[in-house]
Symmetry: none
Subunit: 126 residues, 2 copies
DNA sequence: TATATTGTAATAGTTGTATAGTACAATATA
DNA sequence: TATATTGTACTATACAACTATTACAATATA
């Protein structure tokens, strides 16, 4: 099961964030074939978004053959394995990192400060 | 002068991207106090966006005292430097870092991958 | 079979973003 | 003073994202 997280400030639509996280969950093996996802209603409540928003995300993923839905039963991970190309994964990493750097720097934090804080964070639970 | 770049695919609104880049420029010293920014019309043409979009970005930055505008003359970097108290600064750093980590992790990136990417980013221009 | 649960669909309304166009106000400059 | 340049303001339009609400269809289960 995924620990879904939405970031309202990111500017990225909720339904896209849900899609991304499921895709990455599948790609990284956190979600395995046949596994049931939360129901649209359950996930909507959990993420405090509208039912339609979750539904939209699931629908798109079904079109991509990543999910299989059965009305009355639920939504499941399809058996088409999603392998995210290395380049795509790398560019995603680069994107979120450089976006983060711009924001952090705009607050006056230096590159080193940021890395130091992340290193510090790495050790202990918080 | 800043080399403005807009990324339509990022999902981040144009006016926000403009704001971030100016804030970033100020924070990193690329933009110094008193320096004149491109006129709203010039920047709008350069970025191929509407005049109102640039105007909105400048307006928000003026409210934040980061810019000073004089009608008929232009828009300039203000001389009020945003200094944050040490404790507040530290907790701000912690906040944005841990938020970022949550998001990045949800995409399946490990702590180490992230730090490595940030380190990599540190060296070269991009 | 009856009921609950699941996904689906449709409508209406709100908000944020961006565009296009026009006009005006303040300042600089020829 | 006249003109150009700058920022500002306003209206209208369009679209995407999201919410709220309601209803329906398919399946599971008691």
């Amino acid at each position: 099961m995924i620990d879904f997280k939405l970031d309202p400030k990111s500017g990225i639509p909720f339904y896209r964030q849900i899609i991304d996280q499921i895709r990455y969950g599948v790609a990284t093996g956190k979600l395995s074939v046949g596994e049931q996802l939360p129901t649209v209603r359950a996930l909507a409540v959990e993420l405090k978004v509208n039912l339609n928003t979750v539904s939209k995300a699931y629908r798109e993923l079904e079109i991509q053959d990543i999910l299989e839905t059965q009305q009355g039963t639920g939504t499941f991970i399809g058996n088409v394995q999603v392998s995210i190309p290395m380049e795509e994964r790398q560019s995603k990493l680069e994107n979120i990192c450089s976006e983060f750097l711009v924001i952090a720097s705009s607050y006056g934090f230096t590159h080193d400060e940021i890395i130091r804080e992340l290193e510090r964070n790495k050790g202990g639970k918080r």
